[in-house]
């Protein structure tokens, strides 16, 4: 397997799917001539032409809706948002139209569209550019939501999303684009939506997480191992559909769990998982579940305050120790 970056993995996924299916096109701000704000679409304009790699005006609601209309009549658009913060402008189209249309039309129309782009905080981008928004999209039936945390997952999940017949929200990690990892080269390598992965086996405590935070979880697990605590790291990968089986199996094994996420805790993904786990595995729990997440404030600019606001390895370890009553 080749070792490539997360960015290159996404680029490969796009190129392979554009090659495979002429109905696939990529549209968004700066995706063409500029090669993408984060260079995810590098070289695609040259290879596939401006009919299929389409630079848009700054008009998020407009091109999101255009994509949905095109999907209703059979195309398979990939809509890139420069960041998910800007996609909030397009939420009417995503939430009121894309998520509802298959149901409202009694299945007469489908919406095979992918909305993708970076989510979450980078460094010192302050409140409007640092939001992890997956919980808000996971709320809506009709949407599928995936959050890849490794280069291989980025490629496999994006390819699956493009081939899927429903609207899929792909939230990439802004700080992950340069991350390297092994990625299969098989052009039919896809990771089915709704399949979690145990990223590290362990028996003492489950760190349940998704997206960029798996790297934080794995570092926490390494440090806990030095202290003879054997932590398991479960990466949800998909939030909708949710692979609850893998989550429950892990909790049944370790009897203790922490949910780690980049976004806010209030009405977050962790809140949902805690509810699901207590519904389905209450008798297996030896401690209440705890959550680690961004503190409940808009992201501050100051480097020092930003660090305090973000979930961290230290806070994850602390939460694990608490559920272990250590």
């Amino acid at each position: 397997m080749a070792v490539i970056t997360y960015r290159e993995a996404l680029n490969q996924a796009l190129a392979e799917e554009l090659e495979r299916d002429p109905d696939v096109f990529l549209m968004g701000e700066e995706v063409g001539q500029y090669d993408g704000a984060y260079k995810v679409s590098k070289g695609l304009l040259e290879r596939f032409g401006e009919e299929r790699i389409v630079d848009t005006p700054i008009t998020e609601l407009g091109f999101a809706g255009l994509g949905i209309g095109a999907a209703m009549v059979g195309l398979r658009p990939v809509i890139e948002f420069m960041t998910w913060n800007f996609a909030i402008l397009a939420n009417d189209q995503i939430v009121n139209n894309a998520a509802k249309l298959h149901y409202m039309t009694a299945g007469q129309f489908s919406c095979p569209i992918v909305f993708r782009g970076p989510t979450g905080a980078a460094l010192q981008l302050s409140a409007q550019h640092s939001q992890a928004l997956e919980a808000s999209y996971a709320h809506f039936p009709g949407l599928k939501v995936v959050v890849p945390g490794t280069p291989a997952d980025a490629k496999g999940l994006l390819k699956a999303a493009i081939r899927d017949d429903d609207p899929v929200i792909v939230l990439e990690g802004e700080l992950l684009y340069a991350l390297k990892g092994e990625v299969p080269e098989d052009e039919d390598f896809v990771i089915p939506l709704g399949v979690a992965e145990v990223k590290r086996e362990g028996k003492d405590v489950s760190i349940l997480t998704h997206g960029k935070m798996i790297n934080v979880a794995l570092q926490a697990a390494e440090r806990l191992a030095e202290d003879e605590v054997d932590a398991e790291v479960v990466d949800l990968r998909s939030l909708r559909p949710l692979d609850l089986d893998t989550v429950i199996a892990s909790v049944e094994k370790t009897n203790r769990a922490v949910y780690l996420e980049e976004g806010w805790g209030f009405s977050g993904i962790g809140a949902e998982i805690v509810a699901q786990v207590q519904e389905h595995a209450f008798d297996h729990l030896d401690a209440p579940l705890l959550r680690v997440h961004q503190v409940d404030v808009p992201m501050p600019y100051s480097k020092e305050l930003e660090k305090l606001a973000k979930p961290s390895v230290d806070r994850t370890i602390e939460a694990c120790n608490r559920v272990l009553y250590r």
């Binding site: 096109f25 009919e51 848009t56 005006p57 008009t59 609601l61 407009g62 091109f63 999101a64 809706g65 255009l66 994509g67 949905i68 209309g69 095109a70 999907a71 209703m72 009549v73 059979g74 195309l75 009417d92 189209q93 009121n96 139209n97 249309l101 298959h102 149901y103 409202m104 039309t105 009694a106 299945g107 007469q108 129309f109 489908s110 919406c111 095979p112 039936p141 009709g142 599928k144 699956a160 899927d164 017949d165 429903d166 896809v190 089915p192 939506l193 709704g194 399949v195 998909s238 909708r240 559909p241 949710l242 692979d243 609850l244 089986d245 893998t246 429950i248 519904e279 389905h280």
Partner: protein
């Protein structure tokens, strides 16, 4: 002076258009009656007074052309070809409705008739129509897409974003603004700094026209030009159709009140588009009183039949509650899609579809 279309169209084409207008009128009268009886629920926006717009606009279309619209959609759906039975059954929330009882008044759809809704958020449908135009151009087709909206929608960003993209990329979309004078209870001049809706096209270097939406022939003639421009040159057009809504905004709203007087409405009714067309056809010797009576009786019968069909159609079965949330359940995935394969959430884990389990 008689409109040139009086002579250019075959007599049957005229009678067909008149019949559709009458059908639309009688259908909506029946809808109002059924709403009053509690047989139709929710929001219900009637088209009475605006029939010339839908019939004139859709007459020049081919069967393979597309229509996207907002929530005042019953008559447009019928004019595009959805059988009145299916539209009425949808209003009744029945399984034989055009959206299987899942959409209701505001959400009529038919893939077969290329009628793409039926959208309930003001202006939300405009980018979708733009996308249909994009898809037509992408595939090298020569269909067109007609997008209806009320005049109040043009103050939304979605309108401006769409017109810009359509003009920039030359998409075969005809944007028809039905200017019925009032966005719910707000008169147009109280909502827009610019009175002429059609002039908004200037900002996007887009061809535009004003059509008399109370005269079906004038409406048709204006749209014919736009359809030709879209089909031959892949150029969009903005058309302002000036019309009037004889009813309240929806069935929950009064016909007149603080925003317009009873006299305003009565005066507008003097320009009833159906009466105008009947007079034009009679004057040209294309319609007799007997023929009109016969046609109206046929149309009333068709509407009664639609209502009876809706009445007798069963409600959607309980399993439809969870159907069609998603198009596809990925066969390789271990799924926990709320409701899919888990008809009873109370069943918890055991309720999940074992067939969906991949491991």
């Amino acid at each position: 002076m008689a409109h040139e279309l009086i002579e250019r169209l075959e007599p049957d084409a005229h009678l067909g258009m008149l019949r559709l207008m009458l059908l639309g009128r009688r259908f909506e009268e029946k809808s109002a009656e059924s709403y009053a009886l509690g047989k139709i629920g929710g929001f219900c926006h009637l088209y009475i007074g605006q029939e010339a717009v839908a019939v004139g606009a859709l007459a020049p279309l081919r069967e393979d052309d597309y229509v996207v619209t907002a929530y005042r959609d019953h008559v447009q759906a019928i004019v595009k070809g959805i059988p009145p039975r299916e539209v009425m059954a949808e209003l009744y929330g029945r399984v034989d409705g055009s959206s299987g009882g899942k959409g209701g008044s505001m959400h009529m759809y038919s893939a077969e008739h290329r009628f793409l809704g039926g959208w309930g958020i003001v202006a939300g449908q405009i980018p979708l129509a733009t996308g249909v135009g994009w898809a037509i151009r992408y595939r090298g087709g020569n269909q067109v897409c007609v997008c209806f909206m009320g005049e109040a929608a043009v103050n939304q960003g979605a309108f401006h974003e769409s017109l810009n993209m359509a003009a920039l990329w030359k998409l075969p979309v005809i944007y028809i603004v039905e200017n019925n004078r009032y966005g719910m209870g707000t008169a147009w001049e109280r909502a827009s700094s610019l009175y002429d809706v059609s002039k908004k096209a200037c900002a996007y270097a887009l061809p535009s026209a004003v059509a008399d939406g109370m005269d079906v022939l004038k409406m048709r003639a204006t749209v014919e030009e736009a359809v030709e421009r879209a089909r031959e040159e892949s150029m969009p057009t903005l058309i302002e159709a000036r019309c009037y809504r004889f009813m309240g905004h929806s069935m929950s709203d009064p016909v007149h009140g603080v925003y317009r007087t009873k006299e305003d409405v009565e005066e507008a009714k003097q320009e009833d588009p159906i009466k105008t067309y009947i007079d034009q056809l009679k004057e040209a010797g294309l319609l007799t009183g007997d023929r009109l009576e016969e046609m109206d009786a046929e149309v009333r019968e068709e509407v009664e039949d639609a209502a009876e069909f809706a009445e007798n159609s069963p409600p959607p079965p309980e399993e439809d509650l969870h159907r069609d949330v998603y198009a596809e359940i990925n066969p390789g995935g271990r799924l926990f899609l709320e409701g899919v394969g888990a008809p009873d959430p109370a069943l918890g884990r055991a309720g999940r579809d074992p067939g969906a389990g991949g491991g």
